[in-house]
């Protein structure tokens, strides 16, 4: 081999450094562009060509989406350089140097810490403002006044599951031994909750919070830790480092249910709005439910968008950037400091390539900040726009964000028309460019002082009459492709895909995993959508699917079982969750459902199914390579 006579450190000039860095960046950016482009194109084209509504703030959204791509590239690279090597080093050293009790303690701490850092949980809370306290007091409580109980119960659920996962690697028992009892208990609890007035409404939340917990920080870290431990565990011959993630998304479901049961007795039962205000609720209950402030906001606030002038926009953007940065630091910094200190002070190990690890942590923070910013300004906006207008395929909806103001409006131009019942209705003609459109006239929209008439354009139903079947069908197809293409961009799945490809030495390709998971998420989203449209209780969806999965498990190989169940926990991350929730809320508002939860739970159950089936197909071809020939078998 090439042998240098003495050690040489190569000096690289600025120009050479650039020639190294540029292709590297181009490659990373291109990878992320390929991942994100489908969901963006899909949303944009759907809005433009099917809903036929122009995209608002297109410039800002484009900026946001470029931020998502740039952020993802940085974040994933940082993950591979920084957090994952740290996790794996810890996993390798823990069993060698510490006893089982210390490992348990460490696992709990890490699980809780990683979950509290996870940004996606905050999204659950955002949905809380949409719930009325009288419709579902328990749900309202957990999402608003008692949200810290919710967070903590989720975090402890994850912590306990990390412990179970690590013990599994150390003692080498199969995933099924924990999975089957857990699922049986979960299904039992869900069925019990279905018959309880108050608990009924949190089952969606419980299942969804299970799906949300496992995000881009927790997953790679926990998987890396598992890889480390399973390498040194002697009893684990066929080492498989997976299975923790699925536990981490099942245990929180249980812990949320438990917390719900605890508070269920202390809170009032669901009641109608009048009863809630008139007859009232006990003082203690009210204090618990509504907090000390004891303030109930008016039921419906119609928010009309104000014209935002540039300085205000700038200020808002600055606030958002700051917030995104803060979120990123809070997610990554405490966790990595904890890991580094643990490795250095307790295990007394040096970090190999420390500068690379620090660079990686820096990259993850930068990446996550840019990514968060991009999510707020790019994907969320686009998703909200499409999600809110989606019902226009089967209903006529008001386009609040394109409210028009007609100055110098003269009430004399208002005409009268007769409706089907023979009543008189007022309307006027508006000339826009060269066409005349008739617009219904409402007294309250006319501001006499300013002589300005405000009107909200009405859109749809696009496919035929109100509540037509084709419109619903379009919504379902939309849901499928939304789930599918959003999953392709999910960072935690990409990280898991890399690890799976690495540990299976390329026999289970990343692209294969991502594709089969994406199809599963698509199907799950479709079913979740159906749940909202037809108001099917979540239990009816969850129970049969999980029972089917348990049956399928017995036919699969443990390698695929572990990967399949893990990919389910991973699917619902920072890209899928807001988009799916935006869509669910958009439809839910039109249909008047109490809680829009449950789509995520469906969206994370189906990938297990699709990966298991994909595993069976792959397994079949592998068996062929072992057998002499097919014919001989026959």
């Amino acid at each position: 081999m090439a042998r240098n006579e003495k050690e040489e450190s190569i000096h690289i000039g600025f120009k050479e450094a650039i020639t190294l860095i540029l292709p590297y960046f181009r490659k990373k950016l291109w990878e992320q562009t390929k991942a994100v482009i489908w969901i963006v194109l899909y949303l944009a084209l759907f809005q433009l060509f099917i809903l036929r509504i122009p995209i608002k703030e297109a410039g800002l959204i484009t900026l946001g989406i470029s931020a998502v791509i740039l952020g993802l590239a940085f974040f994933l690279e940082g993950l591979f350089l920084g957090l994952m090597p740290l996790g794996e080093a810890l996993g390798l050293r823990l069993p060698q140097k510490l006893g089982i009790l210390s490992i348990i303690l460490f696992s709990i701490l890490m699980g809780v810490g990683a979950t509290l850092a996870e940004p996606a949980i905050a999204i659950l809370r955002a949905c809380g403002s949409k719930v009325a306290p009288w419709d579902a007091p328990l749900l309202y409580f957990l999402l608003n006044e008692g949200s810290h109980y919710l967070y903590l119960s989720i975090a402890i659920g994850v912590g306990v599951s990390v412990v179970f996962g690590m013990l599994r690697f150390l003692f080498g028992f199969s995933l099924m031994r924990i999975l089957v009892p857990t699922i049986v208990i979960l299904l039992g609890v869900s069925i019990y909750a279905y018959f309880d007035e108050n608990l009924k409404f949190i089952s969606g939340l419980a299942w969804d919070s299970g799906a949300v917990t496992t995000g881009p920080v927790t997953v790679p870290l926990v998987v890396a830790l598992g890889i480390g431990i399973s390498k040194v565990a002697e009893k684990n011959d066929q080492s498989s480092a997976y299975g923790v993630v699925t536990l981490a998304s099942l245990f929180p479901i249980l812990s949320v249910f438990l917390v719900g049961m605890y508070f269920s007795g202390k809170l009032p039962k669901p009641m109608s709005e009048e009863v809630f205000f008139k007859q009232g609720i006990k003082l203690e209950e009210a204090k618990l439910l509504l907090g000390d402030s004891y303030k109930v906001s008016s039921t419906k606030e119609v928010l009309l968008p104000k014209k935002i002038n540039p300085p205000e926009l700038f200020k808002k953007a600055k606030e958002n950037i700051f917030e995104a940065f803060e979120l990123a630091i809070r997610a990554i910094l405490p966790l990595s400091i904890f890991l580094i200190l643990f490795l250095g002070l307790i295990l007394k190990e040096k970090i190999s390539y420390p500068e690379e690890v620090f660079l990686g942590i820096g990259f993850s923070i930068i990446g996550l900040s840019i990514f968060n910013f991009g999510i707020i300004f790019g994907l969320n906006k686009l998703g909200d726009q499409v999600g809110g207008k989606l019902p226009s395929t089967f209903r006529s909806i008001e386009l609040i964000d394109s409210t028009k103001f007609i100055p110098n409006f003269n009430p004399k131009s208002v005409l009268k028309a007769v409706n089907e019942d023979g009543k008189e209705e007022k309307f006027f003609y508006l000339k826009e460019r060269k066409s005349y459109t008739s617009i219904p006239y409402h007294e309250e929209n006319w501001n006499q002082k300013n002589k300005i008439y405000e009107y909200v354009p009405i859109h749809g139903p696009i496919f035929g009459k109100e509540d037509n079947l084709l419109g619903y069908l379009v919504v379902l197809v939309f849901a499928f492709f939304l789930g599918y293409s959003a999953t392709l961009a999910e960072p935690a799945l990409s990280a898991l895909g890399n690890t799976v490809e690495e540990t299976t030495v390329g026999t289970f390709r990343k692209s294969l995993l991502i594709q089969s998971v994406a199809v599963g998420v698509g199907l799950g989203t479709l079913l979740g959508m159906l749940k909202i449209l037809l108001e099917i209780p979540l239990v009816w969806i969850v129970v049969p699917i999980y029972l089917l999965l348990l049956v399928l498990n017995t036919f699969s190989k443990s390698e695929f079982i572990d990967i399949a169940w893990d990919s389910a926990g991973v699917t619902t991350g920072p890209i899928t969750v807001p988009l799916i929730i935006a869509m669910g809320l958009g439809i839910g508002n039109q249909m008047g459902t109490v809680d829009g939860f449950g789509i995520l739970a469906a969206a994370s159950a189906f990938p297990i199914l699709s990966v298991l089936i994909m595993g069976m197909i792959v397994e079949n071809s592998r068996k062929l390579s072992l057998r002499d020939s097919e014919l001989k078998e026959k």
Binding site: M1, E356, G506, R627, D628
Partner: protein, 374 residues
């Protein structure tokens, strides 16, 4: 003190579904230490249906395999070879391969690490084989493997590794160069070796800088996998079966010579020779060892992960998670490298190191004009 001991290394590549059978067979026969590494062997997929057949490019199906490595003294070679053959029924195409190489230990090893025996058995397997070891950037093994399979050269095995070398001297800029490598191993008839190597160099563009390197290593005896494709047989026996039957009939693989099928490369290649130093130690400690070795000019190496399994329940056993590095150096530098390893405490308890070497008659990599003059 320089420790030396000649030995044989048995490498068995077994379909993953048969791994448990092999592990229990090894444990039953009191083989206390063996290394395991995951890998894959590609097989040509079935032809597509109807119109898809126009697209003649076969797709590849990756089959997971486990690569076993056991060291033994010369007398135990045949016993181990037949142990693997019987445990995994290697005479059936698709089950895997097993072969042996001569190695030399330069470090003390734990008791029982080298399998010894007093039983006498007759030789099994074919002789006259040569192994080819090739390191490529991630993703480039696939197209090469396809061509190898389509030309019926051999059934390659692919495993993952990481490379060190130029990138470690770059400082933080090293992150811009991917370190992930693929290791492609195949065993061919000795008379085909040069042409097969030439073929891979050509297809893999190994004559360009930074593409990897390739070397051949002598093999004692071997039984080779013949499953090339998943295509069902159109005759009473599949082609794979016919090949393996002919192998057994002739008692060798001479008849499989296909040198004349290879296109003779007109280019003159600058091959070099040396020894391959394999160092094996606790995971996460190989990086510092390699950094020390850079002081005596060893710059490039390929690291792969392998698990050391031992069936004894001894407390002072080696850690299972281990890393191995292949380092190719000129023969004259061997003593220098070994004594440096000794000085830096590589063989101590801290890293639990093992080092052995094998002769490499022919190796190739991109060499700069300057390097050639040296």
């Amino acid at each position: 003190m320089h420790f030396r001991q000649k030995a044989i290394r048995i490498t068995a590549i077994v379909h993953r579904d048969l791994t448990d059978l092999v592990v229990s067979a090894l444990k039953r026969n009191n083989i206390h230490y063996f290394h395991m590494e995951p890998g894959r062997y590609p097989v040509l997929a079935k032809r597509g249906w109807l119109l898809f057949d126009f697209y003649q490019n076969h797709s590849i199906i990756d089959t997971p395999v486990t690569i076993f490595e056991v060291s033994c003294e010369a007398a135990a070679e045949n016993i181990l070879l037949s142990l693997f053959r019987d445990a995994a029924e290697l005479n059936i195409p698709g089950h895997g391969s097993v072969y042996s190489e001569a190695i030399e230990f330069h470090s003390p090893v734990p008791t029982d690490y080298i399998v010894t025996t007093e039983k006498k058995t007759k030789t099994i397997g074919f002789s006259g084989l040569t192994g080819i070891f090739c390191i490529l950037p991630r993703g480039s093994a696939e197209p090469i493997a396809r061509l190898i399979l389509q030309n019926g050269v051999a059934v390659p095995t692919i495993s993952y590794g990481t490379g060190t070398g130029l990138r470690d001297q770059l400082g933080l800029l090293r992150i811009t160069i991917p370190k992930e490598k693929e290791i492609l191993k195949l065993v061919v008839h000795s008379s085909d070796a040069e042409h097969a190597m030439d073929f891979i160099i050509e297809v893999g563009r190994l004559d360009l800088p930074g593409r990897g390197f390739i070397f051949e290593f002598p093999i004692g005896h071997g039984l080779l996998n013949t499953k090339v494709s998943l295509e069902g047989p159109k005759q009473a026996a599949s082609m794979d079966q016919i090949i393996s039957a002919l192998d057994q009939l002739y008692g060798n693989m001479e008849w499989r010579k296909k040198s004349n099928q290879f296109r003779q490369s007109a280019r003159h290649r600058n091959y070099f020779e040396g020894v391959n130093v394999v160092i094996n130690c606790k995971e996460e400690s190989i990086e510092s060892t390699l950094a020390n070795l850079r002081k005596v000019g060893v710059s490039s190496s390929t690291i792969s992960l392998n698990k050391l399994v031992h069936s004894q329940n001894e407390k002072k056993a080696f850690t299972p998670a281990r890393e191995a590095a292949n380092i190719l150096i000129p023969k004259k530098n061997l003593t220098e490298v070994i004594s440096l390893l000794e000085e830096t405490g590589f063989f101590g308890e801290e890293t639990e190191g093992i080092a052995y070497t094998m002769e490499i008659p022919r190796a190739f990599s991109y060499q700069s004009k300057l390097g050639k003059k040296k």
